[in-house]
């Protein structure tokens, strides 16, 4: 395990320890619902090489360092504010975990899919979705990830995670999905 990853793991464990066991920053219940509700055949996957988790449930080992790390990497959706591509502070740890993963295994490739809510014009939303995907790409590259490991695509408002025309649905649709290709 690299020093960087070890540091992350320790940080992650501290964060977990600070939380009550059932509370997580990104409301994972909702998140899973969004992923499961997708009907385009694309499914976000846990990493094949850290297989200690399936659907966020531990299968082996007790409470330990690897668990916290995998939990962070398990967060594959980053949500955004309206008309914004700024990454909210609550995602910095999971982005750092993805970065550590990618740095450790330069053969890993990811695809960042940028999405927007349904409001406004469609082509402008393609631009906004791309800006969100690029914001995540830049954050990963700042932490040492090679540009060749990360591709982006923007779907704008064309592939919503959830249907509905209220604040709740819009918040779930303004997102970047991290898809591991290998």
């Amino acid at each position: 395990m690299s020093l960087r990853k070890l540091a992350l793991v320790i940080a992650g464990t501290m964060v977990l320890a600070a939380c009550t066991p059932t509370t997580e920053p990104e409301a994972p219940g909702e998140e899973r619902e969004a992923v499961g509700g997708r009907d385009d055949g694309l499914v976000t996957q846990p990493l094949p090489d850290d297989g200690s988790f399936v659907d966020g449930q531990p299968v082996g080992g007790g409470v330990g360092a690897g668990e916290a790390d995998a939990a962070l990497v398990g967060h594959t959706i980053i949500y955004f504010d309206f008309d914004s591509a700024a990454i909210r502070p609550e995602y910095s740890e999971s982005i750092a975990a993805h970065a550590a993963n990618l740095v450790e295994d330069p053969g890993l490739m990811i695809r960042l899919e940028g999405h927007t809510d349904e409001r406004g014009s469609r082509e402008y939303n393609i631009g906004l979705g791309e800006r969100r995907a690029q914001a995540v790409r830049q954050a990963l590259m700042l932490q040492g990830v090679s540009a060749s490991q990360v591709s982006t695509v923007s779907y704008g408002e064309e592939r919503p995670a959830v249907t509905g025309s209220d604040e709740e649905a819009w918040a779930m649709n303004r997102r970047v999905e991290i898809i591991y290709l290998r």
Binding site: D39, G120, R122, Y124, G127, L128, T152, S154
Partner: protein
């Protein structure tokens, strides 16, 4: 032999496809109060049996859909003349109609049909126009639209657009998968046909100025690429499949160039122009902001586009000579997806109107902006080629539907469809 049978079988399947019966239905939700009363008398038929199509009904429904005419119910017609010498204007004067249209359909020697029609001004007591045209049995509907176009132009001074078509995109779910389809239909919603289908998004259809080709964006390979498809043959080619975003195609008025948006690997969207003959690409804007949604001015010398270089999205204009872009819209926090009227004097946009996304028109000559729609999420405005109407997408509950409004805001139409969630309507140019 086997291949021939297979081909025939495939053809039969195509003919049986339920899509062939899909229909759009136009409803006037607001018409002008001074709509002209008009009587379109059922056309006579000079052949045996029944006529292959009720052409007068097509003309009647076209004129009604414009919101500027109030056609008389056939049951109120006391007489049904089919030849000019049978028309007694005093009868129609009593029925308080201003205009009478009569006509006759006769089979011609070559298997086609001759259609003759006459229009009378009841109050002036004089014939306004008479015309004869020949059409194939399969295109009598087209002949009806053509007749409606001529009558509309004679009576309003503006060319009719009943012979034009609209393209639009739908999405629905089949076996748990999305199905995106690009459709064409007559301007009255009839003869709807899907010309492209994919489980991945299809967006931004754009008609070539000759009405024979359509450019659009397809994500079928997992990334966005711009295609140009021939309407008649279905033959298509990729005109832009560079790394990153390829999107928002717009034809130059001469049909030789395509403006589009390229993002590159770093995702910086800028406006580019592709020469369709040589494939040569020229970059028109160079700015870290989102520059997208190009639309050509009718003279082909400049382009309008959306940019958020000043914060929120606003419309800018850039010349092909490479001058710095100049901002065009100032009223409102959000003005995007510009479309220029055929006379170049008006700009239709998606406009944030007190929290609602609506269709607004900027007057480029005198200044000022007018909001024309009243939905919460209206988008994708597209001018009719005569500049009189704008078609756009709106929402009804969770579904996308189409609507149209006259540019002066007096007439409104709602266009219902049986096909899923509808978006991105684009009005064709005049047929050539």
């Amino acid at each position: 032999m086997t291949t021939r049978i297979t081909a025939l079988f495939a053809l039969a399947l195509l003919l049986l496809a339920p899509a062939a019966r899909a229909e759009l239905r136009i409803e006037i939700t607001q018409g002008v109060s001074e709509a002209v009363p008009i009587a379109v008398v059922p056309f006579g038929y000079g052949g045996d049996g029944r006529p292959p199509l009720d052409i007068a009904a097509v003309v009647d429904s076209d004129l009604a859909s414009s919101g500027r005419f109030a056609p008389m119910d056939r049951r109120d017609m006391v007489t049904r003349p089919t030849r000019p010498d049978e028309v007694r204007l005093e009868d129609w004067r009593l029925l308080k109609t201003d205009i009478v249209v009569i006509g006759e359909v006769r089979p011609a020697d070559d298997g086609r049909y001759d259609i003759e029609f006459h229009v009378f001004d009841v109050f002036r007591g004089e014939p306004l126009m008479g015309f004869s045209l020949r059409a194939a049995a399969g295109n009598l509907r087209g002949a009806g639209h053509r007749i409606a176009d001529m009558i509309f132009e004679r009576l309003t001074g503006v060319p009719g657009v009943f012979s034009t078509r609209i393209a639009y995109v739908t999405v629905d779910q089949v076996d748990g998968r999305n199905r995106y389809r690009l459709w064409l239909a007559d301007a009255d919603g009839a003869r709807q046909t899907a010309i492209a289908e994919s489980p991945e998004p299809i967006m931004s259809p754009a008609w070539a100025p000759d009405g024979k080709r359509i450019a659009y964006v397809s994500f079928e390979s997992g990334v966005s690429r711009v295609f140009v498809q021939e309407v008649a043959t279905g033959r298509r080619e990729v005109v832009s499949g560079r790394p990153g975003i390829n999107s928002a195609p717009a034809w130059s008025p001469d049909g030789r160039r395509l403006a589009l948006v390229l993002g590159g690997v770093d995702g910086n969207l800028d406006i580019h122009v592709v020469e369709l003959g040589s494939g040569q690409v020229r970059r028109l804007t160079r700015h870290p902001a989102i520059d997208t949604e190009p639309a050509w001015a009718p003279d082909g010398r400049s382009l309008y586009f959306t940019s958020d270089r000043a914060g929120g999205p606003q419309v800018y204009r850039v010349g092909l000579d490479g001058d710095a872009p100049r901002r065009v819209t100032f009223e409102g926090s959000y003005n995007a997806r510009p479309r220029v009227s055929p006379d170049g004097e008006q700009l239709a946009v998606v406009h944030n109107d007190r929290g609602n996304f609506r269709i607004a028109v900027f007057d480029l000559r005198r200044g000022g902006v007018r909001v024309l729609s009243d939905g919460r999420q209206d988008e994708s405005p597209s001018f009719a080629p005569n500049g009189s109407m704008i078609i756009y997408a709106t929402r009804e509950g969770a579904r996308g539907v189409l609507a149209a409004t006259s540019t002066d805001g007096r007439v409104r139409q709602r266009i219902a469809t049986t096909e899923g969630d509808v978006r991105e309507p684009v009005w064709s140019p005049y047929p050539q």
